[in-house]
């Protein structure tokens, strides 16, 4: 039984990490008073960019290239190539977010519309660029797996082995970023400025804070985190493989997480892992109960989307909590009063 618990936890970590990464980024964005619905699009663009970078890094150093496929002795890339590809994913994610930033901050476009546009753009652009655009069909390209962070035999250690030592670099990184963001928002002066901008941009402006600049920075940070989340899905969740529309709605789940968490980092963690467990539980229940009725079977498939609705309702019924934590200027364009 405890085996099953550990298996479910290990599987849920893989499923929760991209949600956590993207949600941490969006949390900071929303704390500064901006709502960016383009998470899904930034994940797709960032994920593709990370994959292309990994492919290029690997084939440029490849000793045995057969067709488009690189065969290495270890059958895995080294840690530096992996980190390099993650940096590219984050940068491209930030660039995509910057486009949203310019539109909403400088051209005062509607946040909702620009965010939805970014999602459509991300899907369209990643579909065309991932095809034969750069002379390589990345949907067909194969890249060796990402190396584990710890020595291979450590994963044999009971409990800690599958949960910690066999995990990918981004899993501990997501925890680290969570702590860092909590510290930044609550314990630093810069974090205070971000929150002030999100609470009341007119007062913040009057106090001399560069509202638009602060928001551009948070938007780009959110894009970078979404890019990393996309790269995790494309590169690390199963094995490196690019397919069109690979994120299938994870960006939207990350957005729901923020509300679930009422803009508090600790609850983002809780929520991400709750979703992770629900997602990991579904196929296991289906495998165990093979005589499951069709109704229950489909209910389980829809569960990852029903749970957020139910939880949102429960959370939102307490308006005090929302009001205390929600950035008051969320989604409003800043127009300096003259």
């Amino acid at each position: 039984m405890s085996d099953l618990v550990i298996q479910i936890l290990a599987a849920s970590m893989l499923l929760a990490t991209p949600l956590l990464l993207a949600a941490i980024g969006e949390l900071v964005v929303e704390k500064s008073g901006v709502i960016n619905l383009g998470v899904e699009g930034m994940m797709l663009i960032g994920g593709l960019a990370g994959f292309i970078a990994l492919y290029q890094l690997q084939t440029s150093t490849c000793t045995m290239l057969i067709g488009d496929v690189c065969f290495t002795a270890e059958n895995s890339v080294n840690q530096f190539q992996y980190i390099g590809s993650l940096v590219v994913a984050a940068l491209v994610g930030a660039m995509a977010a910057a486009l949203f930033g310019f539109l909403t901050q400088y051209f005062r476009a509607n946040h909702i519309a620009a965010g939805l546009g970014l999602t459509v753009l991300g899907a369209g652009l990643s579909n065309s660029l991932g095809g034969n655009f750069f002379g390589v069909d990345y949907t067909a390209a194969i890249v060796a797996s990402v190396p584990p962070l710890f020595p291979e035999n450590w994963s044999e250690v009971p409990v800690l082995g599958p949960l910690l030592f066999s995990q990918n670099l981004l899993v501990p990184f997501s925890f680290l970023m969570l702590v860092a963001v909590w510290f930044f928002l609550n314990r630093t002066r810069a974090g205070l400025v971000v929150r002030a901008v999100g609470e009341n941009h007119h007062s913040a402006y009057a106090l001399g804070y560069p509202v638009i600049l602060v928001r551009m920075m948070t938007i780009m940070f959110g894009g970078a985190m979404a890019g990393l989340a996309g790269a995790f899905i494309v590169i690390a969740q199963i094995a490196p493989k690019w397919t069109e529309g690979i994120t299938v709605g994870k960006g939207w789940l990350a957005l729901a997480l923020i509300l679930f968490a009422t803009w508090r980092p600790g609850r983002v963690l809780l929520g991400a892992y709750l979703f992770g467990i629900v997602l990991a539980l579904e196929p296991r229940l289906k495998a165990i109960f093979s005589n499951m009725s069709l109704e229950i079977s489909y209910f389980l498939t829809a569960l990852p989307y029903i749970v957020p609705v139910v939880v949102l309702v429960l959370i939102s019924r307490n308006p005090v909590m929302i009001r205390r934590n929600a950035p008051a200027s969320l989604g409003q364009s800043f127009e300096p009063r003259s």
Binding site: A11, V69, G131, A140, Q237, T243, E244, K286, L294
Partner: protein, 364 residues
């Protein structure tokens, strides 16, 4: 030498045509449900298209990622509107759209994969007996499993998928009566994350051989990481699981597409309904639409048995569903009770029941 002859021949035919009013090239269109880069279903159709493109006097066009259902009407119509003479629609979901468009363009020939409706004389259907490959997989799995638990990732509860599960288990039980199958219905043909999660859940539950009836290589990759065995689907997936891959059921549309394109070019195209297995005639003739790709990662005697079974299925010595076949409740299948030697094609086409020995219910 051959190449020289081909060149000469094409030069001669060109010369012959040149004497007459310019003969237009035959244009062949393909409608794909996915991207050719899916390394599965659409990839194999695109390999078939490339074989057609290489023919003289024929050029090809492909529309990728065409959604099934009504939007396909537009895609197929546009191929018809841009002067294509023969159009292949390569997924079941294009069935209604293909027949609808065919009614409006009686001078154009249509070929629909895996469907059964031919509403107009210019519509042909074709499909492959993939279940013959499942029989071979059943034998291998029965010998390779140590836990006696097979994990089966299934897409939708439709006859095509159920037929595969039955063929697989019927053979597996012959060789290892203790073998059990756990089936996870993922309700998608292509969702790498979902397929991977299903594979992981099955492995965690004790399965040490994974069978998939979905299109992405995700399950193979998970099996490779977990150090167990798995079968590939649609295309040769051995490169995704160097130590896990047992064999792949590979779709091979090349010879059919070439035959039909040539028939369209030469004016001999006629309506048909084709269902090829490992061979075209099921009696040891030319290679059909199903090929077993890259046997490996199994003992020599198992491989020899598997290849012998493949040969027997190919030349008609063996049928995939030889009588007696018992249904889940223990009753003899109707065809067997009626004295047939094996289940008939009519039964297989509409199969919506499990055979005896599968402890599960079909979600419906």
């Amino acid at each position: 030498m051959n190449r020289v002859i081909t060149l000469l021949a094409s030069a001669l035919t060109f010369g012959a045509f040149a004497a007459f009013p310019a003969q237009a090239e035959t244009k062949v269109g393909f409608v794909y449900v996915g991207p050719p880069g899916d390394l599965g279903w659409t990839y194999r159709h695109d390999i078939g298209r490339q074989a057609v493109e290489a023919l003289d006097g024929i050029s090809t066009t492909a529309l990728e990622n065409v959604p099934e259902g009504p939007e396909a009407v537009e895609a197929i119509t546009q191929l018809a509107e841009t002067g294509h003479d023969l159009i292949f629609t390569t997924s079941f979901g294009f069935m209604d759209a293909t027949n609808e468009v065919a009614g409006s363009y009686p001078d154009i020939k249509f070929e629909h994969a895996t469907g059964y409706i031919r509403a107009h004389p210019n519509v042909t259907t074709f499909s492959a007996r993939f279940y013959e490959g499942r029989v071979v997989e059943g034998l291998i799995a029965a010998h390779m499993t140590e836990s006696n638990k097979i994990g089966y990732i299934a897409s939708f509860p439709i006859p095509e998928v159920i037929r595969g599960i039955n063929a697989f288990m019927l053979e597996a039980k012959q060789h290892n009566p203790d073998v059990e199958v756990e089936i996870v219905w993922v309700f998608t043909w292509f969702d790498p994350a979902k397929e991977a999660a299903a594979a992981q859940a099955l492995i965690d539950n004790g399965a040490d051989v994974i069978v998939q009836h979905t299109d992405s290589p995700a399950a193979m990759q998970i099996a490779e990481n977990a150090g167990i065995k798995a079968f590939g689907q649609a295309s040769d997936m051995s490169r995704f699981g160097p130590t896990a891959h047992l064999v792949s059921i590979v779709d091979d549309w090349d010879s059919y597409y070439v035959d039909r394109a040539i028939a369209a070019r030469d004016g001999t195209w006629e309506q048909q309904d084709t269902w090829w297995g490992l061979t075209k005639d099921g009696m040891g003739g030319e290679t059909g639409m199903v090929v077993m790709g890259s046997y490996g990662n199994m003992p020599d005697n198992v491989m020899a048995d598997a290849k012998a079974l493949e040969a027997a299925l190919a030349n008609g010595e063996r049928h995939s569903f030889p009588c007696p076949v018992y249904m889940q409740d223990g009753a003899l299948a109707d065809d067997c009770a009626a004295g047939e030697a094996h289940l008939t094609d009519g039964t297989l086409v509409g199969m919506n029941w499990y055979i005896q020995g599968i402890d599960a219910t079909i979600p419906q």
